[in-house]
Symmetry: C2
Subunit: 394 residues, 2 copies
């Protein structure tokens, strides 16, 4: 079992927002005020908990708790939804004897339905009572929606002043796209760190983790990554080596969690690890990677274990990235399949089809133009994705 960072307790209970047979309400509690950092959805429609969490973080970077429910997103619920959200924090603050401004809320689930306040009122006492009796895995289970497994990740590092722990959990399987998605993630550490640096470290860890994944190109109204650094280890960042190690541990945890989201993509059977190099600049590299990772035709080919380089090449060609088609090189599963404007001269089906039966597929694209690079993890597209998402009001 993963050790939680020192100074944090978790809780989870069955509140019954939508899922009746498992916990759907989770609480993270920091025994002392923790430095809090957050990264939020760029969607123009922002859910009430996103607005309230941002508001609280704007006022202070010291937080005591994170409150998360699954099944209802409290998005597109207007002023009433904002009031509902604030009321849940007031209620919890009373039970924990802290201030509502020290709690960050997060919700995930169906959009446009008001949250049932009696459910909250009934559940919160039990939730607080459960604090410390809940494992990381149980908490991670309580924030799932269409996820098929709980997602946690942990790292331990040795700094000059001692051992520091990072732990995180996330949820999300559909509506996933770079720049956040129907995705919640929470990272805890007992590192001692000041608030500005912690926010900077969190933002820095995004590019190669949660901002580098795509399931279906959609970005939701509720996405956020919240990170608490409680300082319980009493170890801080006292050298550039310390800073590098801690930044890497944070990025590793985020990337591990992000990978698990793509692995658990709705209906997904494959994870494409798309690395674009040789682009004119990193923006062009990103355009190219996203065009490939979001292409339904590339995704369905992957599902079919079909080395259909033509679809990848066609996606690159329409991506808007600038390059000379004759200089593009493409490798699948480590083996070159396309270069100089042509497929390689071999029995492609025989050579590649078996390589594509793995869950993880490397897709390496060299645009042959400059130094721009980008990395993206993308799921495939399957009949099961359609089934999940065309089921009435999934």
């Amino acid at each position: 079992m993963q050790d939680l960072p020192l100074g944090f307790d978790l809780a989870a209970v069955r509140a019954g927002f939508k899922y009746k047979d498992r916990p759907d309400l989770a609480l993270i509690f920091s025994r002392t005020p923790a430095r809090a950092a957050g990264v939020f959805t760029t969607n123009a429609f922002q859910a009430a908990p996103v607005l309230v969490a941002r508001e609280n973080l704007d006022r202070s970077d010291l937080m005591r708790a994170v409150l998360v429910n699954a099944g209802q997103a409290n998005a597109c619920t207007g002023e009433e939804g904002l009031a509902d959200c604030r009321r849940t924090l007031d209620l919890l603050a009373g039970h924990l004897d802290i201030s509502a401004g020290e709690i960050l809320p997060a919700s995930t689930g169906v959009i446009g339905v008001r949250m049932p306040m009696p459910t909250w009122e009934k559940s919160l006492p039990g939730l607080v009572e459960n604090l410390g009796k809940c494992t990381g895995e149980q908490a991670a289970m309580a924030i799932m929606t269409t996820d098929t497994f709980p997602k946690t990740a942990a790292r331990e590092i040795e700094l000059d002043q001692g051992r520091v722990r990072f732990w995180g959990m996330t949820k999300g399987a559909g509506m996933i796209c770079p720049d956040m998605a129907t995705m919640l993630a929470f990272v805890l550490t007992d590192l001692q760190v000041d608030g500005a640096l912690w926010q900077e470290m969190l933002a820095g860890a995004m590019e190669q983790s949660f901002n580098a994944i795509t399931v279906d190109g959609d970005t939701s109204t509720n996405d956020c990554v919240l990170a608490l650094a409680g300082g319980g280890s009493r170890a801080g960042l006292h050298s550039s080596r310390d800073r590098d190690i801690a930044a890497k541990a944070l990025e590793d945890v985020c990337r591990d969690l992000a990978y698990q989201i793509v692995k658990d993509a709705e209906g997904g059977t494959k994870v494409m690890h798309i690395r674009v190099t040789g682009a004119a600049d990193s923006l062009d590299a990103r355009k190219a990677a996203r065009a490939v990772g979001n292409s339904s035709l590339v995704k369905t080919a992957m599902f079919g274990c079909d080395p259909n380089w033509g679809r990848i090449v066609a996606a690159l060609g329409r991506s808007g990235a600038v390059f000379d088609p004759d200089k593009v090189r493409l490798s699948l599963a480590g083996l070159e399949i396309f270069s100089k404007g042509r497929p390689v001269d071999m029995d492609i089906d025989e050579v590649f089809a078996p390589l594509l039966s793995s869950r993880d597929i490397q897709v390496d694209i060299d645009l042959g133009r400059g130094q721009g690079e980008y990395f993206l993890m993308a799921s495939d597209l399957t009949d099961e994705y359609i089934r999940i998402n065309s089921d009435y009001r999934s």
Copy 2:
């Protein structure tokens, strides 16, 4: 049966490029030199026939023939593919006693495979012999790939100087996105018109037809719309009324064909007619419409006849279009479902679910900000689409 414009003959034969049980090679022949116009894919990888057609059109706007094969795209075939394409035109030119520079080629099908020249050599004499014995529908059938029905459209108009006919055919069902797709379209008319105006009319007809459709967000290497105006009616454009009528007829034919492509989208069961109004400008309107029309979550909801406005709203929110979420209004099938940041107060499931069982669904979005507008026709996303595209090397 639709009348062809005066002065044109069609032909189709079974060449056997890929489809053995039906014609897969078509020819359009103009008895006199016709004014030719073309619009081509924006994909950076352009197929050999696209490059050759553009080259020929650059040299002259007077053409005699269009040669189209289905089953092989002759894309990503390098210098050899270009030579193959030119060779087919040379061969046909010999049989028709015209110059190769007077023929426009087009190909659709599998990418990256060289065309079998013996197949061409064997088929061309029979193709030329078939001229005039082929109906529009038969020709439209010969250019199909994964299409499930042949797509033609016709309009007749009365100008000051007499009757003028427009006729067109198209193919395409997957890899369809605005700005062209794996889509070929050919429009013929017996209008008398000069080359520059004809090109301008064709380009003008695109925005609300072939550039306003999406199946899966992909744009192919072979897309083109070729249009021949033969002048056989002896009626020209002698008034602004004539010009308006002719431009409208051309746009109607293109839009009719474009609609048929979305209707025949791979695995598709629905056509969303997405109209965005009230955007800051037309670019923002386009961003919003495309985000909705390309969203896998919106598409799967439509397939499930689910009035899931939350997914539409989430797509708008991430589209990049600038608007105030509280001013957005959304109607499905003519009935308002979302306004002022909230769903309407009614039993949405009961009211909307039956409306969404139609094939054609109006999706009207008012962003409440400015005068920008955009229209887009989009298919849904179904298990059948996955089956078609994950079948090995479909």
